[in-house]
């Protein structure tokens, strides 16, 4: 009996391969969308984590010589003997001026990150130790070719113009035998080890820095990608739901006959469920593969994005992780299960006798509509309440979910209302029929249209978010990386000498003065700034009092970052205590994207009176000729190259890379839209078969098949336009929630929202094109329906 039942169920697909294709393709596309976004996200994150585990200067505390730039090998050995977990590093420039490469030597056995930057997997420890190769990316390796005698291994994850090798190799190549430049401290140090002063009094400890900023920004990017992943999942669910619903709809009559001939309902449901499971698995496997291909195509850009933007090293090669397979298949099966439950329940409830059916079905539809409306209103109301009173990141995501699902459920009702308005106004008889017929089509198309709504909204929302992110970040980089060169000194004496040396060569020397402080009861940093042209010209403020820079420069006011302002509930005009006797009004609030903690800025003189013991070790230098200044600092002043950061280069790279983020977003957008377009195509195609009875009378009464086909196409356009009109406000609301709610809850800063009408117009055209493409073939088929098929409709009527 099972075999016979299966053969009957399967025969439907064999006779209608197109329907099978659309079902499997729908499942595959939904899975691909989800797993593609997940893959991009997960790979970027995994690579970022790997990068964070390397010896990256910012990640770990380090020991540096208080004077000069060298540490004797004996000091390292003494520290190890005393129980300090330190890893030695030697570094230096190699190669002719202009194409110099920074060569870093590490000890893979003691470096806290293990093999560190070569953790990408292409090299294992024994190989590293026995062959002692030099690792560099392709461009750097080309520069080193012929320059060194050690074997070169290309490792794309290594930063530009940097080469990494074993410490002995580096010492030999640099001619620095027995010398070290710094020691990296493992995060976990044994308790009870002797104090640093007792073993190595001439070393100073430098705290890990920068890492958290990078982490925070990366997190923000990932959070937004995750949101996109969830959205794509929602779109996928709608598509799967549509595909499965239609698959059941088409086999309604067959199910009834099977039962009448003695197939028990329970067995039938089990068979249909297993059939779906198999299809879900097939669709899932296809989808994960497709998602992998999409991700692999997109990933180099994502990798570059994270690498350049956040200094994280992201492996450019995509690895197919078992977790994706599992999650991809799980999503496919889970999505199918969610989507199929309703369909299976309706099969179970479907009366065996068709005579009892139409009315029951109509009341069922009406009830579903009522429930849908009630749920939609409830969800949207919840969203509103969450906006007003909610708190926390979970609330933010809850808000997103309520908003999107509520809006999607409301769509058919809103569309029905719009179509009703149109039908009331219609004059000609064809127009009246057109609108009425379109309304009748709505239930069958509503899932596909919901998918289109969500896809469009996701596109508007995410591209608004990314564009806003970019605009904000570009401005932020301009203000923060204003100095062409940053230098750090190793001692107070060196700092003084450096400042004196640099002053005549630069237009401005900006000391970076800071202390940790508790401001408004929160952990924060207090900065002293030399207010000059750089600050006045470059720093944009989120909110400011008149003459803000004058009053800050005069020591009459201060600036706070957005995080501190939001957390402490302060804004321009409020007072902030920064010292026992010092309370100053806030003259401005600045955006501080990526910084986890609060910050306040006062003028340099005021800072010096408050904290006379603090002197600046790091400086920003303004100059028109960064190259010359850099050379002067290394050659004439003798500053190690590692102490100089050329920010202009980083900035240019970051910006170039942000452009590529766009490519990724755009590609994901197109993908989401095509999936939604496919959903429409699928629904139209399946509806086309069931539509004959509705169209046959119109045909019999004198409308040509051609005209019917044209009207069919027009219907798709009308519905797409109406849906797009609904999607725009939803997308903007979505962007607003992402930028102003989720980001604030997650990271404490709010990304200003910018609106890009041109982009939306282009998106709208895309959606239209998708709908047209989707409708073209079903309409053509309709226009060519043989009259015999139309006649059959009447023949079967009783």
């Amino acid at each position: 009996m099972t075999a016979t039942g299966l053969s009957a169920l399967w025969s439907h697909w064999r006779r209608n391969p197109l329907q099978l294709f659309t079902l499997v393709a729908g499942l595959a596309l939904a899975t691909a969308l989800w797993s593609g976004v997940q893959a991009v996200n997960a790979e970027a994150r995994a690579s970022y984590d790997a990068a964070a585990a390397t010896l990256g200067e910012g990640q770990y505390d380090q020991l540096l010589p208080a004077v000069g730039s060298d540490i004797a090998q004996e000091t390292f050995i003494a520290l190890r003997r005393a129980g300090w977990l330190v890893g030695p590093v030697v570094e230096g420039q190699i190669g002719p001026a202009g194409t110099q490469v920074r060569l870093v030597g590490i000890d893979p056995l003691t470096a806290p990150g293990g093999l560190g930057p070569v953790g990408g997997g292409s090299m294992d420890l024994p190989q590293f130790l026995s062959e002692q190769p030099v690792f560099a990316n392709a461009a750097t390796a080309a520069k080193l070719e012929g320059l060194i005698d050690a074997p070169l291994v290309i490792e794309p994850t290594i930063a530009p113009d940097t080469a990494i090798t074993d410490i002995f190799v580096a010492q030999r190549l640099l001619g620095a035998q027995g010398r070290l430049n710094r020691l990296i401290l493992a995060p976990e140090q044994p308790v009870g080890r002797p104090a640093l002063e007792n073993i190595a009094p001439d070393l100073t400890r430098r705290a890990a820095q920068g890492g958290s900023d990078v982490g925070r920004l990366t997190d923000s990017f990932h959070l937004n990608l995750t949101a996109f992943g969830l959205l794509s999942f929602a779109v996928g669910i709608f598509i799967v739901h549509g595909a499965i619903g239609l698959a059941f709809e088409q086999r309604r009559a067959m199910v009834r006959t099977l039962r009448a001939l003695g197939m028990p309902l329970r067995r039938l449901i089990v068979l249909m469920a297993s059939e779906l499971l198999v299809l879900a698995l097939i669709g899932g496997v296809l989808g994960v593969s497709l998602g992998y291909i999409v991700a692999a195509t997109l990933l180099p850009d994502v990798a570059a994005t994270l690498k350049g933007l956040y200094g994280a090293q992201v492996s450019g090669a995509l690895q197919l992780r078992p977790a994706w397979w599992l999650s991809g298949l799980a999503i496919s099966v889970l999505g199918t299960a969610i989507a199929a439950t309703g369909a299976l329940i309706s099969v179970a409830r479907m009366p065996l006798l068709a005579s009892a059916q139409p009315r029951a079905w109509a009341t069922y539809r009406a009830r579903v509509r009522q429930i849908q409306m009630a749920v939609s209103v409830a969800l949207l109301a919840t969203a509103l309440i969450l906006v007003l009173v909610g708190e926390g990141l979970v609330m933010g995501f809850g808000l997103l979910a309520c908003l999107l699902i509520g809006a999607a459920l409301a769509l058919p009702l809103v569309l029905d209302g719009m179509l009703w308005l149109a039908s009331v106004r219609a004059r000609s008889v064809v127009a009246q029929w057109f609108w009425a017929d379109t309304r009748q089509q709505l239930p069958g198309l509503s899932l596909a249209l919901m998918a289109l709504l969500l896809a469009m909204a996701a596109n508007v929302g995410v591209s608004t978010m990314v564009s806003s992110f970019r605009l904000t970040f570009t401005g932020f980089l301009d203000q923060r990386l204003a100095s062409e060169i940053y230098v750090s000194a190793q001692s107070v004496q060196q700092a003084r000498a450096l400042e004196a040396f640099a002053a005549p060569l630069t237009s401005e020397v900006l000391p970076l003065l800071s202390v940790e402080a508790t401001l408004a009861g929160l952990p924060a940093e207090l900065y002293g700034a030399r207010i000059g042209a750089t600050y006045r010209d470059n720093w944009g403020l989120l909110a400011a009092a008149p003459n803000v820079w004058d009053s800050v420069a005069a020591g009459d006011a201060l600036l706070v970052n957005e995080q501190l302002a939001r957390r402490a509930g302060l804004w321009v005009g409020d007072d902030l205590r920064i010292g026992p006797q010092t309370v100053l009004p806030i003259a401005g609030v600045f955006g501080d994207y990526g910084n986890p903690i609060g910050q306040a800025i006062v003028s340099e003189p005021l800072f010096s009176t408050l904290h006379p013991q603090v002197t600046a070790l790091r400086f920003g230098l303004r100059t028109d000729d960064a190259e010359a200044l850099r050379n002067a600092l290394t050659d004439d002043f003798g500053l190690p190259a590692g102490n100089i950061t050329d920010q202009a280069q980083i900035k240019a790279f970051s910006l170039a890379v942000f452009e590529r983020t766009f490519t990724v977003t755009a590609a994901l957008n197109v993908l989401t839209l095509s999936v939604a377009g496919f959903a429409i195509f699928m629904s139209l195609l399946t509806l086309a078969g069931m539509r004959l009875p509705q169209l046959a009378p119109a045909w019999a009464l004198g409308m040509t098949r051609r005209r019917l086909g044209q009207l069919e196409l027009m219907r798709a356009v009308v519905l797409a336009v109406l849906t797009t009109a609904c999607a725009l406000p939803l997308g903007l609301a979505l962007a607003w929630v992402l930028l102003a709610v989720v980001n604030v809850e997650a990271f404490g800063w709010r990304l200003p929202m910018y609106v890009f009408p041109r982009d939306y117009a282009v998106l709208g055209l895309f959606a239209l094109a998708a709908a047209l493409l989707a409708a073209a073939w079903p309409a053509r088929r309709l226009a060519r329906t043989p009259p015999a098929d139309l006649l059959k409709v009447f023949a079967n009527e009783r």
Partner: protein, 218 residues
């Protein structure tokens, strides 16, 4: 006695409240007996067949098939009875469009586990379907489709065949052909037959004749 129906009642709840359709049906059908069921449109003939076939449930009363009360059965048990003991020839439950004619004929027999290639072929031949076995239902005429449904019901070797106006859509002469073929085959298999018909001539060819009026048999 193959079929025993006692005090069978069924009403439908409509907008105007509950409307009684069957108000206490009592009837008996012996094995191999053929019975015509007539009555005005809306008198409840189809409803009675649905109840006997276990496709719908009665409000009260008893339907015993071969000593087993099908009104007391759950859905799965009733499905088993339909599969193995009853053949239905209704216009509602037509052929499975995605299976070819051969598969459609064999379908119920396969479900019931009584499939036998030889007798299925004989049936197809007897009903003039032998040359259409590889075709699909949409490629057959109405009368041919009806014959496939008859073959399908007979192939499962049921004890009782329920036919609801099997020739209602056919012209007079085709209807007569199909009918005589069916009666001959039913007689061969020894199954009992209850057939709804509007045609007094067809009713006359059957062993017994019952008339349904105002929810009661006359």
């Amino acid at each position: 006695m193959l079929l025993h129906v006692k005090h069978l009642k069924k009403s439908y709840s409509g907008a105007e409240g509950s409307v009684p359709v069957l108000r206490g049906i009592d009837m008996e059908v012996a094995a191999g007996e053929t019975l015509a069921l007539t009555g005005e449109s809306g008198s409840g003939k189809s409803t009675l067949l649905h109840l006997i076939g276990g496709l719908d449930t009665a409000d009260s009363g008893l339907i015993e098939l071969d000593g087993q009360d099908i009104t007391a059965m759950d859905d799965t048990q009733r499905a088993a009875v339909r599969r193995t003991r009853i053949g239905i020839i209704f216009q509602q439950f037509n052929l499975i469009p995605s299976l070819d004619i051969a598969a459609n004929i064999a379908f119920q027999a396969r479900l019931a586990g009584t499939y036998d290639v030889g007798s299925t072929d004989d049936l197809a031949k007897a009903l003039g379907l032998a040359t259409h076995l590889r075709k699909y239902p949409e490629q057959l005429s109405g009368g041919q489709q009806q014959r496939v449904a008859i073959a399908r019901a007979l192939a499962a070797r049921p004890q009782l065949i329920l036919a609801d106006e099997p020739t209602g859509n056919l012209d007079e002469s085709t209807a007569a052909d199909v009918m005589s073929q069916m009666l001959a085959l039913v007689a061969q298999t020894g199954a009992a037959l209850i057939m709804v018909t509007h045609s007094p001539r067809l009713a006359g060819q059957m062993g017994r004749h019952l008339h349904l009026r105002q929810g009661l048999l006359a």
